[in-house]
Point group: C2
Chain length 113, copies 2
């Protein structure tokens, strides 16, 4: 029961929400997403992000197009499908509800109960 593991568990699902949100702002490819996630201290590694993108694509929430690059192999630029947009909306509600629920519990002081 170490802290690091709990942090990993807490990230579950939330990452999916963050990735969808990043993509909702415009077409983008994986490495740039990683940079943004890292900047927000939502540490993620390649091997986590790529499978996630594939899952989202297979679920019909994302689509991508190949774009040639001047410095390396071509890149997959992702964008949300209509279904993805709708899903993101519902996810936002879920996330906000979860924060609210947690707050309901953690804001209670010892005295309250």
């Amino acid at each position: 029961m170490d802290l690091e593991n709990t942090q990993v568990q807490m990230r579950k699902g939330i990452l999916e929400y963050c990735v969808l949100h990043i993509i909702s702002r415009g077409e983008i490819y994986a490495s740039d997403m990683l940079d943004e996630l890292t900047a927000a201290k939502m540490i993620v590694v390649e091997g986590t992000l790529y499978p996630l993108l594939t899952r989202l694509k297979n679920a019909g929430l994302l689509e991508y197009k190949w774009v040639e690059s001047k410095s390396g192999p071509p890149r997959k630029y992702y964008k949300l499908t209509l279904e993805g947009s709708n899903f993101l909306e519902k996810l936002t509600e879920t996330w906000e509800g979860l924060i609210h629920s947690t707050e309901m519990i953690t804001s209670k002081s010892k005295a309250a109960s």
Copy 2:
């Protein structure tokens, strides 16, 4: 990739935090915890809560004592150990950091990027 599943994933780890917090407020047994979690709409079922409590106890974060009940079998009243208190503190930081990170991402509008 349905919504309900994502909600389940998002709950991972957070539940542990909530449970520790509830127990930090005073000795309590499982059914009452369930009531409080349900009231906060953090829906959880027996089969999730009991194993979690056992894990936390085995990790040395919780301890319990049996207390006779007038209406049924005896109950396990849980409370935090010192180690549990320390862990809860670190978990609070983790959770708040996670919220902050998520906010950094979701607060960016389309224009930003």
